[in-house]
């Protein structure tokens, strides 16, 4: 009987929810990304002003100077919702596990040149704190941002940064035989070593940025790009002749992540800038300011690791070109 029941046809009375039908037309089915994202955040008739910020509603378009007619234009080209996001990261993480056991089984980190090992500890490991700052900022954007289209992937990004901070932590533990000593040394460098102070200063300044879209520009568009290009391109290739190959393997997650993240960030920035000249001017100004600051902050790191900071100019050039493609005027 069940077989026959399955073949009984039943016409659906509608394809999707009203708010999605109004966007797409009533006769089109919606994807899980769309049903799990569009218009999910409340927009009207809030009851109480927040005790902690009574000048705004909890969800309030005025928390950024960027103006969008529809905040759901900022779609995620990856179409991530919780399930697809987690499945993608679980797959990436599987590769991390394989690499770590491969490297550890062969004691490959023993092959690091002594001076490079030191550099890994005082310049790669403190990247976990940069990642933690990124985690705070992306969480803040999820908190203060407007519209699920941009806030949900921001929380995904926050958790990505936590995950990457933990991968870096594991590199430290692999180096110090699980004592945590290397992580302590790295933290001291982060707090006190001269080559880290411009960076830490900048990261701390991003933590208090009030306009969440500016924070997005600073963090997701600029700082992620600059710091990752430094740590996982420049520093990584400098390490190749110093036994650093296992480190490249252990940070492959970051490389893959950056490529994917860039697709999302570019889509958000491009759409927001294309919305109006005012948006374009604002975002361009933020991008310009934070780019020059990030480039300056990464120079001492570069000089510390490879002797001089000239390699940083390639990062700046590449990013300027990328920003121009997004419609920003630097």
């Amino acid at each position: 009987m069940t077989v026959e029941l399955r073949t009984m046809s039943l016409e659906p009375r509608r394809h999707t929810f009203g708010h999605i039908a109004r966007r797409k037309g009533a006769d089109v089915p919606a994807s899980r990304y769309e049903e799990g994202t569009l218009d999910l955040q409340a927009t009207d008739n809030f009851h109480y002003k927040p005790l902690w910020e009574p000048e705004y509603w909890v969800y309030d378009t005025r928390k950024t100077a960027v103006v969008m007619k529809d905040w759901y234009d900022l779609k995620d080209p990856r179409q991530y919702y919780y399930a697809t996001y987690n499945i993608a990261r679980a797959n990436m993480q599987q590769a991390v596990e394989r690499t770590f056991s491969f490297v550890e089984k062969r004691a490959m980190l023993d092959g690091l040149d002594a001076d490079w090992r030191e550099k890994i500890i005082d310049t790669l490991l403190p990247m976990r704190h940069v990642a933690w700052g990124a985690n705070m900022n992306m969480t803040n954007i999820c908190d203060r941002g407007y519209g699920t289209a941009v806030t949900a992937p921001s929380q995904f990004a926050a958790m990505d940064h936590l995950g990457m901070a933990q991968i870096i932590s594991r590199i430290g533990l692999a180096l110090d035989g699980n004592s945590g000593e290397s992580l302590d040394t790295a933290k001291t460098a982060w707090m006190d070593a001269p080559h880290w102070q411009d960076m830490r200063h900048m990261v701390e300044d991003t933590l208090v940025v009030k306009d969440w879209f500016e924070q997005y520009v600073a963090q997701a568009l600029v700082i992620d790009a600059v710091t990752h290009a430094f740590a996982f391109d420049i520093m990584d290739s400098a390490g190749q002749t110093k036994g650093g190959a296992p480190i490249s393997m252990m940070t492959e997650f970051m490389v893959e992540w950056r490529a994917e993240q860039t697709r999302w960030v570019d889509a958000v920035i491009k759409t927001a800038a294309a919305e109006s000249d005012a948006n374009r001017a604002l975002i361009s100004g933020w991008a310009k300011g934070w780019l020059s600051r990030a480039v300056d902050a990464v120079k001492p790191l570069c000089a510390h690791v490879v002797g001089d900071a000239s390699a940083v100019s390639s990062i700046e050039a590449e990013l300027s070109a990328r920003f121009a493609k997004l419609g920003l005027a630097l």
Binding site: E4, R6, M8, L10, R13, R14, T16, F17, G18, A21, R32, E35, G36, L40, A42, T43, N45, F46, H47, Y48, K49, L51, W52, V58, Y81, Y82, A83, N86, R89, A90, N91, Q93, E97, R128, H129, A131, N135, M136, T139, N140, C142, D143, T148, Q155, M159, L162, G163, A165, Q166, R170, L173, D176, N178, G180, L183, D184, K187, M191, D205, V208
Partner: protein, 504 residues
């Protein structure tokens, strides 16, 4: 170098603790601007005991595994028209209430835990709150994806987002969460993490999920089950928050106690919707609301508060009143919705003889005496073609926003009215619990967006009921009114007839 073996706790500490630092280029109070104004004193954040030591690698792995399984079930549910396999068409109304009333709260929890996950100063609670933020996004999305299948075949679902921001009874759950969201981060953690996720969660999710199981709704059962391991993390976070706050400083006790009292009562009022769902909307009943209250609040909650006594915390104020109300609440709520069926986004009906007998048995002290006669009278009126509709707009309680229909403790024939004056205006309440909450924070609760006031002020599409229903995006004659004669019922009947023919 021989690597030393790491225990879970140590490994977690190394991978998470120590990520944060004392900022020096920006003052810590600028970086964390919201965690002092509530008066909570934290002397040592490092005393925080991480309740679950989950690193992101394991988080992704576990959650991805669960999602693969869940979506496989949802796909086959859709393929097999699982929505037509439930016990009865009436059951579908329970999930309408869930999608319109509860799922948007999951979303609110997602954003609220992002706020806590950014603004609590300790790294341990911050990471735990962030994970919960992500989990709550999971809950709202899996619920929408599950119920999406019902939406394709039944009314009352399509406008859940639009309705949640507007419809009179949905302002009850909405204002509950708006209240928590607009509170400081510590109150939020006590309100949602402790009072809601720990003390009251079993009274919300167990009824809906076992209701789904009893009524053949495999999709809802599956997402419910799948969320359970998330919920157990949320519960441990909630209890850890309370213990941590109380251990940190004795001055925290009176503040926390006030929050526990407030959020217990707030939660109890919201759960009135669940009470009505359990006793009236499930074609196959799981247990009565009163029984659920006894098991999950009186017994489990009793043990919990006994355990918390060592911190000086006592059972929430008016817990005895709430327990007494368990005899009445579901009946009074269903009566409200029956009278206002024209303005409700789900269908109503009068209980059958069999259901009334079940209610008599479950509520021997109250049902036959106070509620059966009312239903019998309404049944007679229906027979005479005079089905009872209440066309007057009700007065709402300023705090919980429920129409003033609850009766005095100990006197089920008198409607309870309380009121307070604030800045020259008079505000009305359904109970002492709601009045106390207002009196503690009048500047907050005098802002309440009360649906009936808003209608009178002309902010809801117009002055007549049809105007307001149009503003709700209510599909009149389909979303609202009685189950009998509804398009839902017609489709269901047609399907069942067809099914019988196929079965021969």
């Amino acid at each position: 170098m021989a690597a030393k073996k790491l225990g879970l706790k140590q490994r977690y500490a190394l991978m998470t603790r120590g990520l944060d630092w004392e900022t020096t280029y920006q003052p810590m109070d600028e970086v964390f601007p919201f965690d002092k104004f509530e008066g909570i004193k934290i002397t040592d954040w490092s005393k925080w005991e991480d309740p679950f030591r989950l690193t992101m690698d394991n988080y992704w792995k576990f959650q991805a595994e669960k999602e693969r399984k869940l979506y496989a079930v949802l796909d086959s549910f859709a393929q097999n028209n699982g929505q037509m396999g439930v016990s009865d068409a009436k059951y579908v109304n329970a999930i309408k209430l869930f999608l319109t009333g509860v799922s948007p709260l999951e979303y609110q929890a997602h954003r609220g835990f992002a706020h806590a996950g950014r603004h609590l100063r300790g790294v341990g609670p911050r990471v735990a709150a962030q994970m919960q933020s992500l989990d709550e996004l999971r809950h709202v999305q899996t619920q929408v994806h599950t119920i999406s299948q019902y939406n394709k075949y039944f009314d009352g679902f399509a406008e859940f987002r639009h309705m949640h921001d507007r419809v009179w009874y949905l302002s009850v759950p909405k204002s509950f969460f708006d209240d928590a969201r607009s509170a400081g981060p510590f109150e939020y953690m006590v309100a949602i993490g402790f009072a809601f996720e720990y003390v009251l969660t079993n009274l919300l999710f167990v009824p809906f999920m076992s209701g789904a199981a009893y009524n053949g709704d495999m999709a809802t059962v599956t997402f419910g089950f799948s969320a359970q391991s998330d919920e157990s993390r949320h519960m441990t976070l909630g209890i850890e928050v309370i213990k941590f706050l109380l251990e940190q400083h004795p001055d925290n006790l009176p503040i926390v106690q006030k929050w526990v009292d407030k959020w217990f009562w707030r939660g109890h009022r919201v759960l009135g919707l669940v009470a009505m769902m359990m006793d009236y909307m499930l074609p196959k009943k799981v247990m009565s609301w009163k029984e659920a209250w006894e098991i999950y609040f009186t017994e489990a909650g009793g043990a919990l508060f006994q355990d918390l006594e060592r911190y000086g915390l006592r059972v929430p104020k008016y817990a005895d009143v709430a327990t007494a109300e368990a005899e009445h609440m579901s009946h009074q709520n269903w009566s409200i919705f029956y009278q206002y069926t024209h303005a409700a986004g789900f269908h109503t009906w009068l209980p059958s003889d069999e259901e009334m007998d079940w209610l008599s048995e479950k509520y021997p002290n109250t049902f036959d005496k106070y509620y059966r006669p009312r239903y019998e009278m309404w049944r007679e009126m229906e027979k005479d073609g005079k089905r009872f509709y209440n066309n007057a707009l009700p007065q709402l309680c300023t705090t919980c926003q429920i129409p003033m229909g609850y009766t005095e403790p100990g006197d089920p024939t008198t409607i309870a009215f309380r009121s307070s004056e604030y800045k020259g205006d008079r505000y009305h309440f359904c109970s002492d619990g709601c009045k106390d909450i207002f009196d503690n924070e009048p500047e907050k609760f005098s802002q309440s967006w009360l649906p009936v006031h808003q209608i009178f002020q002309g902010n809801c599409g117009g002055a007549t009921v049809p105007d307001v229903l149009a503003w709700y995006n209510m599909n009149v004659g389909a979303d609202n009114m009685d189950q009998a004669g509804s398009p839902d019922q017609k489709i269901w009947d047609a399907w069942k007839t067809k099914q019988e023919k196929v079965a021969g």
